[in-house]
Symmetry: C2
Amino acid sequence: MGLLVVGSLGLDTVITPFDRVEEALGGSATYISIAASYFSAPVYMVGVVGDDFPKEYIDLFEKYNIDLKGLQIVEGGKTFRWTGKYQYDLNIRDTLLTELNVFEKFNPVIPEELRKSRFVCLGNIDPILQMRVLDQLDSPQFVVCDTMNYWIESKKPELLELIKRVNVLIINDSEARLLAQEPNLIKAAKKIRSWGLEYLIIKKGEHGALLFSEDKVFSAPAYPLEMIFDPTGAGDTFAGGFIGYLEKTEDTSIENIKRAVVYGSTMASFSVEQFSTKALEGLSSLRIHDRFLDFMEISRFDDKE
Amino acid sequence: MGLLVVGSLGLDTVITPFDRVEEALGGSATYISIAASYFSAPVYMVGVVGDDFPKEYIDLFEKYNIDLKGLQIVEGGKTFRWTGKYQYDLNIRDTLLTELNVFEKFNPVIPEELRKSRFVCLGNIDPILQMRVLDQLDSPQFVVCDTMNYWIESKKPELLELIKRVNVLIINDSEARLLAQEPNLIKAAKKIRSWGLEYLIIKKGEHGALLFSEDKVFSAPAYPLEMIFDPTGAGDTFAGGFIGYLEKTEDTSIENIKRAVVYGSTMASFSVEQFSTKALEGLSSLRIHDRFLDFMEISRFDDKE
């Protein structure tokens, strides 16, 4: 039946200590959809762009079997643009410019034939819009939701309402501490889950990811990358690999959700190796599975005897 | 044959956001020896104290089968004292006072009958002293060495000479970056190992630990602690659990070294739950093994099928 993805599409200008790229393909829906496309087919992408959105990117989506019937193309409108600059160690990112353009009035409309979607990924957009998506759906089986510090600070009540309606919230460690107002990550996770959330995933960048479920914690390692070229979109890519794998396997048992966390980490580990979506292009199931097995090898140990 | 431990013994005054303790038992040799005593017997501790060192701490060591023939007690001397204060999130520690006292002129002398020790742990002291210990030993089988930023900054040439003569160096992530002058931890580890080191362990606190061997990385998870009461000695405790387990099993294969990393993490996870060595006292092999199995459960996932 495929995967429904809602989020942003944009043109990103990214400056790293090593290089820069101008108006490259970006946005949460973009990264989620391309990562998920290695597992799910088709991926239905709902978002908005202006009529200046390059044709080559439309072609790219189509190449990855990403269905665009939910993509709004605003006549005479300009696509969302973002410029960011990473500092020396790539852990700190400064936003230099944000032009919302057509994204400012984005109202996600889910095409009739997609309203029965069972697997749904709500990319990082206003929680009010994320809820509006859920309102249009006919009891989805599994909903994953991403957010960011901006929404935690400006729309916390709406976010708390939203997380009661999703299965998984994916955030990073500083967002978890901010959301829970608690410096200890384990306590923070417990608090967030107590608000009515089934699963919480906390991404920790170079330190891997944690999955919190009922009284259980799963710790996924990070892939030992010697070179991180551009971290932009790594979190979205994680979400795409995670939900794509779950949709493909149609298995939402805890054991399979753990595997999905590792597939999310796997996709994110590729993503940061080049600018924009470049490193996600041209992967294969075999390469992805090989790196999944690397994650297994990195974290494997046994009890004596 | 037992384990040889060389390091500091001291009286620590520790202030945390929750509480404080005055002149509690501390020092690298103390934590290493007590942690290792749950695996190795006996543990031979080499260090120095003044004659003000409380009798109750001597009794404590003896209770844990820690042999004190290598402990120098300086008549009329004062024991090493340290006062530290942890900030709100426990990640930053300020040293308020250091009185070296008898430790200032410490010259480790290995008693004749311990010179054939096969397993050796060099706790965090001046690398020149650590080398002087090695000079007295008759080809030990496996040597673990700890250090800290102070020695990395002040005695780097001596430290680089030392690491060629040990099997494992244990440091934390900021120390690894400092030693290698490289922000990427994986690159930093590679660089440090290239200087002639067999195994490097990088402790990452709440993010677990990494073991680097020839072209391989092993990632051990952190135990999901909701409450860290006092981090003092956690690194020494890690080293003690690590080398104690190796000495007990007399197996230095890579698979067993991985287990030892998890036993080190296990002991450290207990250590931080109370002040000083309190949480290490009264443990049992069963409780330790249970927590080892928790670490396994936390990081376990499988491939589909």
